[in-house]
Symmetry: C2
Subunit: 182 residues, 2 copies
DNA sequence: ACCGTAACTGTCCGATCGGTCAGAACTGAC
DNA sequence: GTCAGTTCTGACCGATCGGACAGTTACGGT
């Protein structure tokens, strides 16, 4: 054995992401991951300080991408704000499908996770989707788009090919937000 | 102690629903429920054959209500079908908020649950929301409404008062489905 | 060839899980 | 008061969890 450390870490993350996205974080034991990787459970804990750290490392890119999206639309307003946010959000969920899947599998415990501030990022996303409006219709519609894209992306790809899925999700989301295309 | 059996069962179900909806099924131990009820863990297992049976009993009313909805719209077509389905679905998720919450907390393990065929009911709902269409745009939009109402109802009630939430969810959902009000 | 270090593992640990069981505690009918 | 039956509990069980740790193996620089 004794592969390079970074290669081993990569394999662990790959197996963990697959198993977490199927069985959830709690539903996947360190032994499950170790068996999938083909190493001992102790080896996992040599490369990662704990089970939680694996999760953190898996979700950090998603979190960063979301933060980057919010930063990108921070200066926009009106129709441009909504359009850019919707497209960015749809692309993000399609790119990080399995991460999204495991994210809403254990969403309640994520909220009290120290290293992951997904919830406040979700708040920012909600705000942008609502076009910075605080009126109830806009807020409700924003919540609905948040959940709609979330679940549709996380669903097993039986729905439609990715290209079609992407286009239709964007169109549907803009309809939900009562956005008249510019 | 020694309350009546039915009263005790009711208290257990009440506590279990609250704890399950917050921490999930796996995240709630029998000891947690027992402590909340104020009895011993063994007492729970006297009234219920196992932890799973508590879950089954909690979700059966939701399942029945969904089946009843599908039965009710089975004969409809076109605009009436979509309208009735959306309104019925929104009302259902608002009525069974906490059940919905715990349902999508552990949705992957639900799919292989023997006593609960939620997944095939969800398929029926999807079909009705899509207006029985098999075209990709309609299917994607149906998926999105499914997830949107799901999550918006499950979200903690910070969004809007229930009456406003209901009306806006219905309007937004119909927009998502590109439904022109009759 | 040697050796320090990085990579890895077998084994053990305490905690907690769902569930079992014999028996105590309570209840209502008589 | 007595007693049968329902309700309830403490103690215990095997399984499994995340994690700790000493010891072993493999590798690269010298």
């Amino acid at each position: 054995m004794a592969r390079s450390a970074s290669a081993m870490r990569g394999q662990i993350l790959k197996s963990a992401l697959r198993l977490f996205s199927v069985h959830g974080f709690r539903g996947t034991s360190l032994q499950d991951i170790a068996s999938d990787v083909g190493c001992s459970k102790a080896s996992l804990l040599y490369h990662f300080a704990g089970k939680e750290k694996i999760l953190t490392e898996l979700l950090t890119p998603t979190q960063d991408a979301l933060a980057e999206l919010l930063d990108r639309v921070a200066g926009l307003t009106g129709g441009r704000l909504v359009e850019e946010t919707v497209v960015g959000y749809v692309d993000l969920t399609l790119r990080f499908r399995r991460e999204i899947r495991l994210l809403f599998e254990d969403i309640t415990e994520m909220s009290c996770h120290q290293d992951l501030n997904v919830m406040e990022l979700a708040d920012g996303l909600l705000d942008a989707l609502a076009g910075r409006s605080h009126r109830a219709p806009a807020r409700v519609a924003a919540w609905m788009v948040l959940g709609a894209v979330f679940i549709t992306s996380a669903a097993d790809g039986e729905v439609a090919p990715d290209e079609v899925l992407r286009a239709e999700m964007i169109r549907s989301a803009l309809r939900t937000l009562d956005h008249t295309p510019s």
